[in-house]
Symmetry: C2
Subunit: 539 residues, 2 copies
Amino acid sequence: MKNLSNSGNSKQEQAENLAAETRADHEAGASTTFSPSDRRAFLQGAAATAAAAAATLAMPRWAQAHPGDLDAIRAEVEKRHDESVKRLQDWIRQPSIAAENRGMNEGCELTIRMLRDVGFQQATKIPTDGQPGIFATLDAGAPRTLGLYYMYDVKQADPAEWSSPPFEAALVDKPGLGKVVMGRGAVNQKGPEASFLAALHAIRGAGKKLPVNLVFVAEGEEEIGSPHFPQVVRRPEVLAALKNCMGIFMPSASQGLDGEVTMTLGAKGVIECELISSGERWGRGPRKDVHSSNKARLDSPAWHLVEALATLVSPDGNDPAIEGFAAKARPISAAEKKMIADAAKRLSETESKKLLGVEHWVHDVGWQEALELLMSRPTVNIEGLVGGYTGPGGKTILPGKAIAKLDLRLVPDMTAAEALAALKAHLAKKGFGDIEVRMTGGYDPNSTPADAALIRIETEVYRKGGVDPVILPRSAGSWPGYVFTGEPLHLAAGPFGLGHGSGAHAPDEYYVIESKNPKVQGMDGAVFSFVQLLYALAG
Amino acid sequence: MKNLSNSGNSKQEQAENLAAETRADHEAGASTTFSPSDRRAFLQGAAATAAAAAATLAMPRWAQAHPGDLDAIRAEVEKRHDESVKRLQDWIRQPSIAAENRGMNEGCELTIRMLRDVGFQQATKIPTDGQPGIFATLDAGAPRTLGLYYMYDVKQADPAEWSSPPFEAALVDKPGLGKVVMGRGAVNQKGPEASFLAALHAIRGAGKKLPVNLVFVAEGEEEIGSPHFPQVVRRPEVLAALKNCMGIFMPSASQGLDGEVTMTLGAKGVIECELISSGERWGRGPRKDVHSSNKARLDSPAWHLVEALATLVSPDGNDPAIEGFAAKARPISAAEKKMIADAAKRLSETESKKLLGVEHWVHDVGWQEALELLMSRPTVNIEGLVGGYTGPGGKTILPGKAIAKLDLRLVPDMTAAEALAALKAHLAKKGFGDIEVRMTGGYDPNSTPADAALIRIETEVYRKGGVDPVILPRSAGSWPGYVFTGEPLHLAAGPFGLGHGSGAHAPDEYYVIESKNPKVQGMDGAVFSFVQLLYALAG
């Protein structure tokens, strides 16, 4: 079964989005047949021939592409398996949580040390108005240069919700799946990122020259909406380095439990904001909570918020009604429609509904149209409502303040700045100009052409490996790829990588280290997919 | 200055309502002139003559009404001051919080012990489907019988918000006000209730016979909306005892900082309920939180709630728009209008607005009309909104559930049952029949005629004491007086008592023990006001 849980989720949001599906998928996937033995245990056994055969079976088929170099590198990947796993565990054990301003400097410096260890000639902390970013370069003297985007921060984690402590990075056996590392950041994104570093170590360890030069940029605020990432990328020396790149990618664990991969050619933009209605700003109703009996003689900031919200969408709550909001939304093209139609045939509506826990799509549309809406429709969503008394039972107050947390998803050619301005203008026009709109994060959509060299080569590498990716016009989630795909760089950008994990933003996040599922690569297979990509890009 | 903070607030809600005003009043009242010495310290001094003179000044003037008995009783009140304060402190130190199911049995039994100690011949715990109530009788062989309504539960308290721990009942000097006992329940209602018990002790201690018989009913669930109180009052033996009463009252600290008292001839009814919109019940949208990108293809229970809420009120959020909700609302009569017009002249609009922290009444009406609305207008109020992510910043989810906490205030001749039915029918008709309406508490309005004997005598007692009460048709808050004023008892019911306190439902709740403000009675004055009332009712 294929579903959007595997949609090339380089971006944590997309991962989170679809992680719910992936997790359920895992449970639903109990009937999948698994390989009878643990590959890693097999490799470590006495029978070298048997081990080699098993490795050949378990590794992607395209591992044969450059037999000379690649055989040596594959052996090095396996030799360094424990070292690679330990590097990932050490990284997970250093939490860096921007939302809590926890371990940020330590996480930044650890990342820089790892870059230097693997051969980056320079790796520099880039200060911003928020948490620092990182800029690093590895000049291999190669003709081509590849860009890399990393995040070194992770989402918050409540240890009480985890079966294994989130910052212990324990190796855990997941029935039917194999050995996984469990911890916050395991799949989002330290696991895939560590696998890419392991690929560089293996190439060097095998005595080979890296086939492409690397330009590396990272941020520590991805989980809070990347508010300062432009301050990293827009520095002259960073722009100068990036503009030589053939494209930029983020290491990702892109495989679903069925081994399939969904690639997305961009992502929606997003605005996260709070709408704050208060007596203080309104000049009507109370400034603080007062007894609810006063409703008879006082205006209510909470009702004011409800009335304002009701103007933002159609009466069924589904279609944005903010004036001018979607004016520049580009309808999907015939080519994109075709892509979605092809995808609709390969993806299972039944499974998707089951995994989301829903019975109906919006407007009761069919599967293909639901996918079209997902890719192409700007949205106005309520993430949360909080006002007045929120505990158990009731409390007889008329609250002085109420807040709605919204996210607005944007498609090309909308921009975050224009969408925010439209929201504010709409509220003012409808008589709600006093309601404060506090943007907490967000950025523009991003888009990469299907025929970009990076995308073509990634697709070829997957196909050579026996994985025929589902290709979608864009992710319905968001990541700050606009800094690369937009002005002035116009780079192709997208995630890549074999391997599997789940639980981004959720408890028990994991990344597969040793797979018992023959359709899914473990860490060594993921590492080797990055080796393959680097050689394919060079060639 | 008079304001509604002093509106005979036997009911905690009204107290809370108006407590905000009272607290601010206290701060605003810094310019009030205070007596130069602490009366209690004076009384405890060596100069007996001076002490007697001071007591005469400080006690209400009507304390002279029955010179023989009353002088002896007044002396006994003073003699027993420390004992009375300690009884109150012991009571506060036993929290009974129905909302937390904390100390309920202990609080019930302590109350019963106090009743037996003061001469009630029988005092019985009455089991209900919730927390137990109490029924007690004191037969003094008197011709007349008075009913008493007590609550032994208190509101929750967060110690972190208090300057003195809420269950320590510390004696604290409040600048300009005097010595107060600070603790949860101090004014709502243990302070006034303990003062009434002290009145009974003083009468007995002075060797006098209680001038009226007493029938006592109490509940332990007042703070959670009195859901089981009818199970206490409607028992045959309780009804039989109550039907002999000339009326029922709740001891109250009715004085504002200016010494004035506002009496209310009833109270609005109330429904507290939660409106719960969920994908589970709706059958549309997700059953659990999913990634917000799915808004493009999924319905949203949070938007569904917002749209439903918007149908409940006029577009400005002020006037109920629930079909049939207020069909039986009785317009205020000419006599009630006159009462309010008189009150409007005596109450200060400026102070009321200042204390509520507002600049405008609803619809920008004037003062008299604002008071009319407060007394006469049914309301639909949002107490709280809670759905999805409610923490700091944002979280990209499409919530599977969202809740609005409402209270609806009812005026005669509306009933809670009919109002709830109207709300449910309205939602169903508007297409929101899936939204669960969970009533968490509430009851009918209550009303007592201005010419009821109890009210007339209370008014006379106040007037003899030099306090000319403002009389209002009803409180905009609510208390479960309908069990007494409605079928089958048709008793007069209302709060009574001198004394002052504030902070009901808020931190630093207090009740004045020794007043430095010559306009406000301390605990002994409050105790003596109850002695006076009992003698006036007997006579």
